[in-house]
C-alpha cells in the first residue's frame, strides 16, 4: 500500500487577477522507504503539491490519501493531530522556536501529540539528535547553531513522533553545498530506515540520493522517473 496516494488533484486560487490554477489533475503514488524529489521551476506548483500532502492546504478537487488517511476529508482539528503523528515537516528556514533549546524543540511534538511517556521524551530527543549528528548541541538555543546544525535539529524534530512520512520544502535551499550534501545523506539514511521522504528541491545535487523524481511544470506532472 502506498504511503502517498494523490489522485487527480487540482488546486485553484482566487487572485485579484482572476482564478489561478496551481495544480492540474496531479496524480502521484509513493511507497514506504522511498526518497522522492519534487522538482520544477519557481511557480510550477511544487510547494502547493507538498501542502496538499501535508494537509496544510486543501485540494479544489481530487483526493489525497496519506498514511492511510483521506487527508482531503479531515477537518482542521483532526488534521492537526493526524499531521503531528504521521508527517514530519522540515522547512527551508528551519523554523525552530527561538525561545526553546534544541532538545526542547524536539520534545515539543511529543508534548503536543502526547506520543511518548513523559520520562522517555528527553532520552528520545537526545537519541534523535545523535542520529542527526548534533547531540552536543542539545541544550543550546537555536540562535547559537549554524544553519546546517539548525536544519539537522529541524529534521530531528520532524522525526520526533516517528512518522511514516517526512516532508521537506527546499531543506537545502539555505545551506552551503557541503552542508547540503550532508543533509541529503541524512535524508537518504532516513528513507533507507523505512520512512518515506518527500523533498522539494530545484537543484540537481540530490540526484545521487533519491529513489524517484516528479517534475512539475505549470501545475502538471511533466515527468515521473
Amino acid at each position: 500500500m502506498p504511503i502517498i496516494d494523490v489522485r487527480e488533484v487540482t488546486k485553484t486560487y482566487d487572485t485579484p487577477q482572476g482564478p489561478f490554477t496551481a495544480l492540474r489533475a496531479v496524480s502521484l503514488q509513493t511507497g514506504p522507504g522511498e526518497f522522492l524529489a519534487v522538482v520544477g521551476r519557481s511557480g510550477s506548483g511544487k510547494s502547493t503539491l507538498i501542502n496538499m500532502i501535508t494537509g496544510i492546504d486543501r485540494p479544489t478537487s481530487g483526493e489525497v490519501h496519506v498514511a492511510g488517511a483521506a487527508v482531503h476529508e479531515l477537518d482542521q482539528r483532526t488534521l492537526a493531530a493526524w499531521r503531528g503523528r504521521n508527517v514530519g515537516v522540515v522547512f527551508q528556514f528551519f523554523q525552530l522556536l527561538p525561545t526553546l533549546t534544541v532538545a526542547e524543540n524536539i520534545m515539543l511534538p511529543m508534548d503536543f501529540c502526547d506520543t511518548f511517556p513523559r520520562a522517555e521524551r528527553r532520552p528520545r530527543a537526545q537519541a534523535l539528535l545523535e542520529r542527526v549528528g548534533i547531540a552536543e548541541q542539545a541544550d543550546k538555543l537555536p540562535s547559537a547553531l549554524s544553519g546546517g546544525q539548525q536544519q539537522r535539529a529541524a529534521i530531528a524534530r520532524a522525526l520526533a513522533n516517528d512518522p511514516p512520512l517526512l516532508v521537506a520544502d527546499e531543506p537545502t535551499g539555505n545551506l552551503d553545498s557541503d552542508t547540503a550534501v550532508d543533509v541529503l545523506k541524512l535524508f537518504a539514511a532516513i528513507a533507507t530506515a523505512g520512512t518515506t521522504v518527500v523533498m522539494v528541491t530545484h537543484g540537481s545535487d540530490a540526484a545521487p540520493y533519491i529513489t524517484s523524481t516528479v517534475e512539475l511544470a505549470d501545475g502538471a506532472v511533466s515527468a515521473h522517473v
Binding site: 501535508t54 525561545t99 515539543l108 503536543f112
Partner: protein, 765 residues
C-alpha cells in the same frame, strides 16, 4: 512547567519583559483602583453604620411644649414603643471673636449616666460636665475658642460656659462641616424646659416609625400636650451615609472603567505578541499542535500576567483603600473599629485580575490559534492600506512615521481607543472638579447678600439702622419658617440635614437671583404661589408647576400652588413665597439679608440685639459645602491620573510591539543609509502622532462621560445636575500628558530599534 510548551511561555514572557511588565502594571493599576474603592467602601460603610447605630439613634424625635421623665416613662410603656427619653436642643450662638459669632447647638441631657438613646461617648473631661461647663463634640474642637465661651441664647441672654472636655457623637454630621459647634450640658448649666421626646420604636421601617409616632402624638395630645413637630430621619442611616455610598458607587464605576481599560491594553499587547508569533504558531501546528493547545498556551500566559498583577494590585489596593477609609473616617468623624477588608473584596480583585484580561484577550487568542499553517507560513505582515497614502507633502521621515501608524489599523484603533479612553476619564475627573467649582460659583453668585441674620423678634427699626451702617449696600427683610410637606419631617438632630423651610421674599428683592428651571418666579401680588428650590425635591418629590401643595406651618396645614422651580446650590430644601403671603400665613419676617463690604461693622451694630443666628452666608456656606465633596473630587482625580497612566502604558506597549514586528524593516532602512537618528525619528514620530490624535478623541469622549457623571453627582449633592463644564486646564494638561506620555512611551522602543545592528536585525526570526 517542565513541559517544553510551558517553558516556551515562560521564556517568551521573559524575553518581552518590557511588555510583560507593562501589562502587569496596567492590570495591577486597574486592580488597585477596584481594590481601593471596594475596600474603602466596605470599611467605610460598615463603620459608618456601626458608629451611627452604636449611638442608638432615636427612631423619632417629638417636639412638645414640655416633657418630663415621668411622661417619658409612661410613653415607654405604650404599645410599639421600645424606649423613650427626654432631652432638649437649644440653638445658641457662641462668640468666636470680638463681634464674631457662630452657631452652637447645645444638647441638654438630664441624665448623662442613664443615656439609652442618642448616646455619645466621653473622650476627656468630667462626666457629666460640671455645672457651668460643657463638653463639646471632638469635631468642633478647632471651632470653639479656648477658655470660657460667651454663649448667647435665643432669648438674647448671655451665659459664659467653660469647655470641660470632649465627647464623640458619631450620630451627627461632623461639626466642622456644618460650621456649627456641638455642646453637651446638663440642665444644671442651663435651666430650660425640656421639650424633646426621643423614642425608639419596635418598628424599624420608616412607615412603621411614622405610624407609631403619629399614634403617640394623638395620645400625647389627648394628655393635653402640644406636639409641634415629629422628626423621623431616615432610619438607621447616618446623615451622610447614602451620600457616601452613592459617591463610592461612582468611584467604583470609574475604577471598573479603569480595569476594562487595562484589560483592553492586555488584549492589544497580547494581540501584538500573537501577530509576532504567527509563524511560530504555524510551525507548532505543523508539528502537531491543535488549536485548543495553542489557545491554552497563550491563555495561560495571560493568566500568569493576571496572577502577577493580582500579587501587586491586591496589597496596593488594600493599602490605598484603608488609607482612603481613614480619610473618610476623619471627614465623617468616625472611629474605625476595624479596618478589615472582607474576603469577597479580595476574591473580586483576584477574579478581576485574572478573568477580565482573559476574557478580553480571548478574542485575539482565538483568532491567532485558529490560523492555519498555510496562512501562518505565508504571512508577510504587509497589508494593503489606503488611508495613509494620502499623507503626503511632509518630510520623508515624518511621512513614514505617520504611514506606519496606519499599518495595523485594528491596533491603531485599539491603541488610540485606549489612550483616548484614558484621556477621557482623566478629563472627566477634572471636568467634574471644574463643574463643581462653577456650580459653587454660580450658586454663590446667585446670592447678592453676604450675611443672613435671624432675629429673635421682628424689628423694622433695626433694618433701617443697619442701612446706615458703613459698608452696607442693601438690607432686606425675609420671612423664614420651618415647614414640612406632611405631619412628619425627616430632619436630623442637628436641625440642618433634611430640613425644609418656607421663605418669604420681598417683592423688590434684589439679593437672590436663582435660575428658573420650570414655570416662573414669584410675582408681586402672588398670594398662594410657591416656588421650590432644587433640594425641595427631597421633601416634595415630583412637584411641578400647577400642582397644589400642602405645607405645615407650626402644625397648621396651609395650601399653596406650585408656580415654578429654581436651581439653588448650597441651600437646604426651601419653598419661596412672596413676603406678603408669608406675613399673612406666618407673621412678620425676622430674617435680614444684608449686602455689605464690612461684615464686622454689621456684627458690631448687632452687638446688643437679640439674634437667633447670624451667618456669613457666602463664605461659611462655601466652606461647609466644599467640605462635603473635596474628598470625592480628590479621589476622582487620583483615579483619573491612574487612567492616564494606563493609557500611556498602552501606547508604550503597542509601540513596543510594532517596533519588534518591524525589526527587519529598520535593518533594511539602515542598510540603505538611514542613521539611527532617522529610525528614532520614525518611531517617535509615530507614537507622538498617535498621542496627538488621542487628544481630540479624548475631548469628544469626555463629553458624554462628564455629562453622565455630572448628572449623577449633581443630583446627589444638590438635586440638580452639574452643568456640562470643560476645564481648559484639563484639556491643556491632557494635551501635554498625551504628547509627553507618547514621546515617553516611544522612547524605549525607538532606542531599541535604533541600537540594533543591521546584522542582528536581519537575523531576527
Amino acid at each position: 512547567m517542565s513541559r517544553p510548551r510551558w517553558r516556551k511561555i515562560r521564556r517568551d514572557l521573559a524575553l518581552a519583559w518590557g511588555r510583560t511588565a507593562t501589562m502587569i502594571v496596567a492590570i495591577a493599576a486597574g486592580v488597585t483602583g477596584i481594590g481601593a474603592v471596594l475596600s474603602a467602601s466596605t470599611i467605610a460603610s460598615r463603620e459608618i453604620a456601626g458608629n451611627y447605630l452604636s449611638t442608638v439613634p432615636a427612631s423619632a424625635t417629638l417636639e412638645l411644649d414640655r416633657v418630663d421623665a415621668a411622661l417619658a416613662e409612661q410613653v415607654r410603656r405604650r404599645p410599639g414603643i421600645a424606649d423613650a427619653q427626654v432631652r432638649t436642643t437649644v440653638t445658641a450662638r457662641m462668640r468666636i471673636g470680638a463681634d464674631e459669632w457662630r452657631s452652637l447647638i447645645l444638647f441638654v441631657v438630664p441624665d448623662f449616666d442613664g443615656m439609652r438613646i442618642a448616646k455619645f461617648t466621653p473622650q476627656s473631661g468630667a462626666w457629666p460636665p460640671p455645672a457651668g461647663t460643657m463638653l463639646i463634640e471632638r469635631s468642633a474642637r478647632d471651632m470653639v475658642p479656648a477658655g470660657p465661651v460667651e454663649v448667647r441664647l435665643p432669648g438674647g441672654q448671655s451665659r459664659t460656659l467653660a469647655v470641660s472636655g470632649t465627647v464623640h457623637d458619631p450620630g451627627l454630621a461632623p461639626a466642622w462641616q456644618e460650621r456649627a459647634g456641638y455642646g453637651y450640658i446638663t440642665p444644671q448649666t442651663l435651666a430650660v424646659p425640656l421639650d424633646e421626646l426621643k423614642i425608639r420604636t419596635e418598628a424599624t421601617s420608616r412607615e412603621g416609625i411614622e405610624h407609631t409616632s403619629r399614634e403617640l402624638a394623638i395620645w400625647l395630645r389627648a394628655q393635653g400636650r402640644q406636639v409641634h413637630e415629629i422628626q423621623v430621619p431616615p432610619p438607621g442611616r447616618h446623615p451622610h451615609e447614602s451620600q457616601m455610598q452613592s459617591l463610592m458607587l461612582m468611584l467604583l464605576i470609574f475604577a471598573l472603567l479603569g480595569l476594562v481599560l487595562a484589560a483592553v491594553l492586555v488584549a492589544t499587547v497580547i494581540g501584538g505578541m500573537l501577530v509576532q508569533q504567527f509563524r511560530q504558531i504555524g510551525v507548532m501546528k505543523a508539528i502537531g499542535a491543535r488549536t485548543g493547545q495553542i489557545s491554552a498556551l497563550y491563555a495561560v500566559q495571560v493568566l500568569l500576567l493576571g496572577l502577577g498583577a493580582a500579587a501587586l494590585g491586591l496589597p496596593l489596593g488594600t493599602l490605598a483603600g484603608r488609607a482612603y477609609a481613614d480619610v473618610i473616617a476623619e471627614l465623617l468623624n468616625l472611629d474605625l473599629h476595624s479596618r478589615a477588608v472582607p474576603p469577597w473584596v479580595y476574591g473580586t480583585q483576584l477574579a478581576a485580575a485574572v478573568l477580565v484580561p482573559l476574557l478580553v484577550a480571548a478574542v485575539p487568542i482565538r483568532r491567532a490559534a485558529r490560523i492555519t499553517v498555510r496562512e501562518a507560513i505565508s504571512d508577510y505582515g504587509v497589508r494593503a492600506e489606503a488611508i495613509s497614502a494620502r499623507l503626503t507633502g511632509l518630510s520623508r521621515t515624518l511621512t513614514m512615521a505617520l504611514r506606519n501608524a496606519f499599518r495595523r489599523r485594528a491596533r491603531l484603533v485599539l491603541t488610540l481607543g485606549l489612550l483616548s479612553a484614558g484621556g477621557a476619564l482623566f478629563l472627566s475627573g477634572l471636568n467634574m472638579a471644574a463643574a463643581w467649582q462653577r456650580t459653587m460659583d454660580d450658586g454663590m453668585a446667585a446670592r447678592h447678600y453676604d450675611m443672613e441674620v435671624r432675629l429673635a423678634a421682628a424689628d423694622p427699626a433695626l433694618a433701617e439702622r443697619l442701612r446706615t451702617t458703613p459698608g452696607v449696600t442693601r438690607v432686606e427683610s425675609w420671612g423664614h419658617a420651618p415647614t414640612s410637606a406632611g405631619d412628619v419631617v425627616s430632619t436630623y438632630p442637628d436641625g440642618g440635614h433634611g430640613s425644609f423651610s418656607l421663605r418669604g421674599v420681598p417683592d423688590d428683592s434684589r439679593l437672590l437671583d436663582l435660575p428658573v428651571t420650570s414655570g416662573r418666579w414669584l410675582r408681586p401680588g402672588d398670594t398662594d404661589a410657591v416656588v421650590l428650590n432644587s433640594m425641595a425635591a427631597n421633601p416634595v418629590p415630583d412637584a411641578k408647576p400647577g400642582d397644589t401643595l400642602t405645607l405645615r406651618l407650626d402644625g397648621r396645614a396651609t395650601t399653596w400652588r406650585v408656580v415654578g422651580t429654581v436651581r439653588e446650590i448650597g441651600s437646604q430644601a426651601a419653598a419661596y413665597v412672596t413676603r406678603t403671603a408669608f406675613e399673612q400665613r406666618v407673621g412678620p419676617p425676622r430674617d435680614l439679608r444684608i449686602a455689605t463690604t464690612d461684615s464686622a461693622a454689621v456684627l458690631r451694630a448687632l452687638r446688643d440685639v437679640p439674634v437667633e443666628s447670624a451667618t456669613l452666608a457666602t463664605s461659611e456656606l462655601r466652606e461647609a459645602v466644599d467640605g462635603h465633596i473635596f474628598v470625592l473630587i480628590g479621589a476622582l482625580i487620583a483615579l483619573a491620573a491612574l487612567m492616564a497612566i494606563v493609557g500611556v502604558l498602552g501606547l508604550a506597549a503597542a509601540t513596543g510591539t510594532s517596533v519588534v514586528e518591524r525589526t527587519r524593516e529598520f535593518a533594511v532602512m539602515q542598510a540603505i543609509g538611514a542613521t539611527p537618528r532617522t529610525v528614532l525619528g520614525v518611531v517617535l514620530g509615530e507614537t507622538v502622532f498617535i498621542g496627538l490624535l488621542s487628544w481630540p478623541a479624548a475631548a469628544l469622549l469626555a463629553l458624554p462621560l462628564s455629562w453622565a457623571i455630572g448628572g449623577l453627582l449633581g443630583d446627589l449633592a444638590f438635586r440638580t445636575p452639574l452643568p456640562l463644564t470643560f476645564s481648559p486646564l484639563a484639556l491643556a494638561l491632557w494635551a501635554l500628558a498625551a504628547a509627553a506620555g507618547s514621546a515617553l512611551a516611544g522612547t524605549a522602543p525607538a532606542r531599541r530599534a535604533a541600537r540594533l545592528t543591521i546584522r542582528q536585525a536581519l537575523a531576527y526570526v
